[in-house]
């Protein structure tokens, strides 16, 4: 990964230097190695530029605001992030000509919490070696299977293909594990209604309405969110008496249904570790089953199944059941 970071840094500085681009959106080191955040870099300042196994954030959404500032932007996108980028293009949220996309290799990103849960503390840095991960810590080097450290969103990586790119930096073959994509949803589907109710009751009751999921979601790019609009009748209320969390998450996922590329950012950023992606993924699974396979962002011109229809569509009663 260090090699890739070097190549990325090289391209970024070259393009800034030559004036091909005005700004670069990439990842920046924080206080600790796992505290990485998206950042905008300019010619004069490329300090903190990083790309390693902790760089999970999907950078496509940042282009919406960044591209309003004018000039040309270089963005580094992992394969799954390119779908979000395409989806945003189709929604006229980004102008393609203002962005230079470099697709970069990704073997899956890791979750520091998972390392800590395994007793690996004092993490200083990580290094990928095939399917192993070497963690340098204050207490010496530790090695674990890469897969064990994978973040939830990468456990079921849907694609290692770039839906869009101007150039790519890929040194090794990328692994995906798409066949596992719907396993968790299927597990839930197999539960009884009571069990499912209890599952979501327990999960969503943890929600603190911090809005991190909404803020990070590349499909949640509304100028003003319906939940912030007093006129909508469903604006978030501080003194809500019931249901607000479920209503929020069901509607949020409905609003991004057909546009959600399954990037998993919602779950990644949730401070309460709620598996929010399982809501979005249920819509994706249903849409695939009811209306045919569809991957949001795979093509800019494709019609989202939720605004499309055929005269022969299945009835809700057929697919959901409902009549006794």
């Amino acid at each position: 990964m260090q090699k890739i970071e070097e190549l990325m840094y090289k391209r970024a500085s070259e393009m800034l230097e030559s004036g091909e681009v005005d700004r670069v959106i990439a990842w920046k080191k924080g206080e600790t190695c796992y505290d990485v955040s998206p950042a905008t870099f300019t010619k004069d300042n490329l300090e903190g530029f990083v790309y390693d196994a902790f760089c999970g954030a999907n950078l496509s959404k940042y282009l919406v605001e960044e591209s309003k500032k004018g000039g040309k932007i270089l963005v580094f996108l992992k394969p799954c992030d390119t779908y979000s980028f395409n989806q945003l293009l189709s929604e006229h949220r980004i102008k393609r000509e203002n962005v230079y996309v470099i697709g970069i290799e990704c073997q899956g990103k890791i979750d520091a919490n998972k390392l800590q849960k395994k007793g690996i503390d004092g993490i200083l840095s990580v290094e990928e070696k095939g399917d192993k991960l070497t963690v340098k810590t204050l207490y010496g080097d530790k090695e674990i299977a890469f897969e064990e450290a994978l973040s939830v969103k990468c456990e079921t990586c849907k694609s290692k293909e770039f839906a869009v790119s101007d150039e790519t930096i890929v040194l090794n073959e990328m692994r995906d594990n798409r066949e596992k994509r719907f396993e968790a949803v299927e597990r839930l589907e197999k539960m009884t209604e009571e069990e499912r109710y209890a599952f979501w009751q327990a999960e969503l009751s943890k929600c603190i309405r911090c809005n991190a999921c909404r803020n990070v979601c590349p499909a949640c790019t509304c100028t003003h969110c319906v939940f912030d609009n007093d006129k909508s009748g469903i604006a978030g209320k501080a003194n809500a008496d019931s249901f607000e969390e479920k209503l929020f998450h069901i509607i949020r996922s409905y609003h991004v249904a057909g546009r959600c590329t399954d990037c998993g950012e919602c779950s990644r950023v949730c401070p309460q570790n709620i598996p929010l992606h399982l809501i979005n993924r249920k819509y994706i699974k249903d849409m695939n089953e009811f209306y045919g396979e569809y991957q949001a962002g795979a093509a800019v011109t494709a019609l989202n199944p939720i605004v499309d229809f055929t005269k022969e569509d299945v009835e809700a009663a057929t697919v959901v059941g409902g009549k006794k």
Partner: protein, 146 residues
């Protein structure tokens, strides 16, 4: 707040499109084809006006069942509205079931303006199902219950 009663009085919200199903309900009325009083109708121009938010709101507020009625596919007054309804609600009802709401509590029926008898029969049938299911688990959160 009302005093707690032992027998649960069910509550059913029926969204009816103005052109077919609401007219079908009118026909049921003028034909004196009865259905339970717990069915309360909200008139919408087209079934496609029904936002899933409305359905969720009804469940939030204690509805035991929600039914959408629209023109038969192909007969939409706005030509394509009910096709959109069909997709949206198939996905939404599936999602509600995913959250543990019994699938019998949500329903779509296509009722034409000529089908007064069907309207009454559908509402009787739905009300019977809802009565059998009893009180709905509300879509509420533990945190808020305290």
């Amino acid at each position: 707040m009302q005093e707690i009663t032992t027998t649960h009085k069910p509550l059913i919200v029926a969204f009816c499109c103005n052109w077919c199903s609401y007219a079908g309900a009118d026909l049921a009325g003028s034909s004196r084809l009865s259905y339970p009083a717990e069915v309360k109708i909200i008139r919408v121009p087209c079934s496609c006006r029904v936002n899933p938010i409305f359905v969720l709101k009804a469940f939030q507020r204690g509805a035991d069942g929600v039914i959408l009625c629209g023109c038969h596919p192909g007969d939409c007054h706005y030509s394509t509205g009910n096709y959109h309804t069909r997709r949206r609600m198939a996905l939404m009802f599936s999602m509600l079931n995913y959250f543990g709401i019994e699938k019998e509590r949500t329903r779509i029926e296509w009722v034409s303006a000529a089908e007064g008898a069907k309207f009454s029969q559908v509402m009787n049938d739905f009300a019977k199902t809802i009565n059998e299911l009893g009180e709905n688990r509300r879509l509420e959160d533990l945190r808020c219950k305290k």
